[in-house]
């Protein structure tokens, strides 16, 4: 039994050993996201994951990282740039970046992360068999929206109204809003969706908030909407629920959703397989493996929220 396992491991290592002997050039991985710096957690996760799989940065793989500071037009341009630069693979985070990469190339493999519903957004035709040059990790963020609202309501039982701001052209957030509206009556909530197309508009919309309201933050950083929501939440003491733990570790009250970095680590396996020669269309889209409920107890105190025992027991991560 042990011998069989050892053989399997050796067999799995063979392709890399063969490559090493050929002393091929390092693989060039293009990275595209809407962050404000090169250290988006999915990229950190990708690098760590590849390292674990024996692909060292510099020696085996180089990264051409394009981050577009939440500007939709810049994302399309950067995608086209990466395609022209002839990278071996494009690694994307979120729908906007993935759709931009899809529009830029039908040839270069694309591995995505932070995509809430890859089929609904037209990124792939089917999860099991993507049938194109794209595969990746579904963050499941869309279908987790009702759970997210439920966590907020459990934290604040008196909550009645939740504002959801999202970028006008942000299709996945619209899909998430539909789920939120469906779930709202069951939770005794009113969900108020508002689309934003310019930063000034967001300022205007924020004036509609009243004490007792809460915020549902989108998972997409376009126009910096989640960061603005976090700022408003802390400055005006309005509870807000986010899609991932990173926000809670920086003051967000609560989050329920897939961990950004873990999605990068998970996607590294797909990236390594594709670099070794597997076709993306033969690799099914995977659901995010690490989904956490995170609560910031310090923010809860600031907002005057008493965290119920139920949440304390259920939470995967508590920030103190």
């Amino acid at each position: 039994m042990i011998r069989t396992a050892a053989l399997v491991i050796i067999a799995a290592m063979l392709p890399f050993a063969a490559e090493a002997q050929q002393a091929r050039r390092p693989y060039r991985v293009g990275v595209l996201n809407e962050a404000w710096a090169a250290n988006h957690p999915t990229v950190e996760g990708l690098k760590a994951g590849l390292r674990e799989l024996g692909l060292e940065e510099g020696r085996d793989v180089t990264f051409d990282i394009r981050f577009t500071e939440g500007k939709p037009e810049a994302t399309s341009l950067a995608a086209a740039d990466l395609a022209r630069a002839g990278v071996d693979l494009i690694f994307t985070s979120n729908e906007a970046a993935t759709l931009a990469a899809k529009a830029a190339t039908q040839r270069i493999p694309v591995v995505f992360t932070l995509v809430g519903d890859p089929v609904a957004t037209g990124i792939v035709k089917a999860l099991a068999r993507p049938e194109a040059n794209l595969t990746g990790i579904s963050s499941l963020t869309t279908e987790l929206v009702p759970k997210r609202l439920e966590a907020l309501k459990t934290l604040i039982p008196t909550l009645r109204r939740v504002f959801a701001f999202y970028h006008g052209a942000d299709v996945p957030s619209s899909a998430a809003i539909v789920r939120a509206l469906e779930a709202a009556p069951r939770l005794g909530l009113e969900v108020v969706p508002r689309t934003v197309t310019a930063p000034e508009q967001l300022d205007e919309l924020l004036k509609q908030l009243r004490p007792g309201d809460a915020l549902l933050a989108p998972d997409i950083a376009t126009m910096d909407i989640p960061a603005v929501m976090l700022e408003v939440s802390l400055a005006s003491r309005i509870p807000a629920v986010f899609s991932s733990e990173l926000w809670v570790s920086h003051g967000g009250l609560v989050s329920y959703g897939a961990d950004y970095r873990a999605q990068g680590v998970q996607a590294a396996r797909l990236v390594a397989k594709i670099l070794r020669g597997t076709r993306p269309q033969d690799l099914p889209v995977e659901g995010a493996e690490k989904i956490d409920l995170a609560v910031n107890l310090k923010t809860a105190r600031l907002l005057g929220v008493t965290v119920p025992r139920k949440i304390l027991m259920r939470a995967d991560l508590l920030r103190r």
Binding site: A37, H40, E44, L230, L246, W247, S249, G251, Y260
Partner: protein, 408 residues
């Protein structure tokens, strides 16, 4: 010349009240805050920076009408970087000048010495730059640290080394209270993380020639050199590492690496050097994970950077400046909370504070040890000081390994 005639009053009332705001504040006597700071001697550069922080804070507080309806007035002497002088001067500030309150001097050794004075007169002392934990663990009740314990200053350096699979470390320090404590903390941290400590030494304070200790380090051949240095040592050590050809794969020092002066003095030889710092102005632009702006953790820092440049054109600045400003903010906040200048009430107020200043988070344990503030690791890369740790905040990656001098 007596030490008192050598001393000078560096700043009195940062701003005179304008006629428009003549009010209760102008009518009342100012709150006089005494301090000594090294304006000469070995600590002059960081000491002057810390004083600029005090001055700017006092100006801003006064511009907004002061505290408890009273303006702030700073009474500052030069302690010449000497603990004994500082002790006499704090005695003088409290008993002869009859200042209402005090702020800390620069450095652990001087703070350690003067802490007995503030303790004797039961007047709280916020110490912006005094990171040796031992100062606070002697049962003193009236001294509070802005800096995290010196023992964790090189945590980033060690953490990066471990992630790069390095195996051995040499730890050296200046023979002073804080630097020695830092070295001891680093040795323990390195061992805990599985690194082998292959060389440990302490060099005398007056050292300018480091060739002997560096030759020993070369023989020990560590992967990492972690040095706890004073400002003037940092430049000399790097210069002499080059001449003696000491080539660890990572080298980190403490005081001074984060200043522009360090790069100006060394030029390209500053490349690849890591430094521990408690604050850099770039923090206000940083985003955690490339997404979340962290400026709110440093409220007022943007304005601080701008007005510092305006108020002190061309002057040096470093984390000591921000720590000085932040320390003054904490004292003012405590006065507001206590509604009084009473030492015991102020002490209670400081112990209850959990807030962020220009300098970052402030929260102390019951002994006054800072537990809220986080350190950063920077590295010089192409003439720029790049934050490389903690990973979450670091927009840049460490340039690794440091190439041997012969290949630069």
């Amino acid at each position: 010349m007596s030490m008192f005639t050598k001393a000078f009053i560096a700043g009195i009332m940062a701003v005179a009240p304008s006629i428009a705001i003549v009010s209760v504040a102008a009518a009342q006597k100012p709150i006089r805050i005494g301090a000594t700071l090294a304006q000469t001697g070995v600590y002059a550069v960081p000491g002057q920076n810390q004083l600029r922080g005090y001055k700017l804070c006092a100006k801003h507080v006064n511009d907004k009408g002061g505290v408890l309806g009273r303006k702030l007035e700073l009474v500052v002497y030069d302690d010449g970087s000497d603990p004994a002088t500082a002790v006499s001067l704090y005695e003088r500030l409290i008993t002869q000048d009859k200042v209402d309150l005090v702020l800390g001097p620069y450095s652990s050794p001087i703070s350690e010495a003067v802490a007995d004075v503030s303790e004797k007169y039961r007047t709280p002392m916020v110490a912006p730059i005094a990171a040796a934990t031992s100062i606070y663990r002697k049962g003193r009740k009236f001294i509070f640290s802005m800096l995290p314990p010196v023992e964790v200053f090189h945590e980033g350096l060690i953490d990066i080394a471990v992630r790069k699979d390095l195996k051995s470390v040499a730890v050296i320090s200046a023979d002073d209270l804080s630097q020695k404590a830092g070295a001891q903390g680093t040795i323990e941290l390195a061992k805990k993380k599985g690194l082998q400590v292959v060389f440990v030494d302490v060099y005398p304070l007056e050292s300018t020639n480091f060739s002997e200790i560096l030759t020993k380090i070369r023989a020990a051949n560590p992967d990492v050199l972690a040095a706890f240095t004073r400002f003037q040592d940092t430049v000399a050590i790097i210069r002499q590492m080059k001449s003696v050809s000491v080539n660890p794969r990572m080298v980190g020092l403490t005081v001074g690496v984060d200043t522009l002066k360090f790069y100006e003095a060394l030029g390209r030889d500053a490349e690849f050097v890591y430094g521990a710092t408690a604050w850099v102005p770039e923090l206000v632009e940083l985003r955690a994970g490339g997404l979340i702006p962290i400026a709110r953790q440093y409220p007022g820092a943007r304005e601080f950077v701008q007005s510092y440049k305006k108020e002190f054109p061309g002057a040096d600045s470093s984390y000591h400046s921000a720590a000085g400003y932040g320390g003054c903010e904490i004292l003012v906040d405590a006065i507001r909370r206590a509604g009084s200048l009473d030492g015991d009430k102020l002490r209670e107020a400081v112990l209850r504070i959990d807030r962020n200043t220009v300098f970052g988070r402030f929260k102390v344990d019951p002994d006054g040890v800072q537990i809220g503030h986080k350190m950063l690791t920077v590295q010089w890369q192409d003439g720029k000081k790049v934050i490389v740790w903690p990973e979450e905040l670091a927009p840049g990656k460490p340039r690794f390994p440091t190439p041997p001098w012969s290949q630069r």
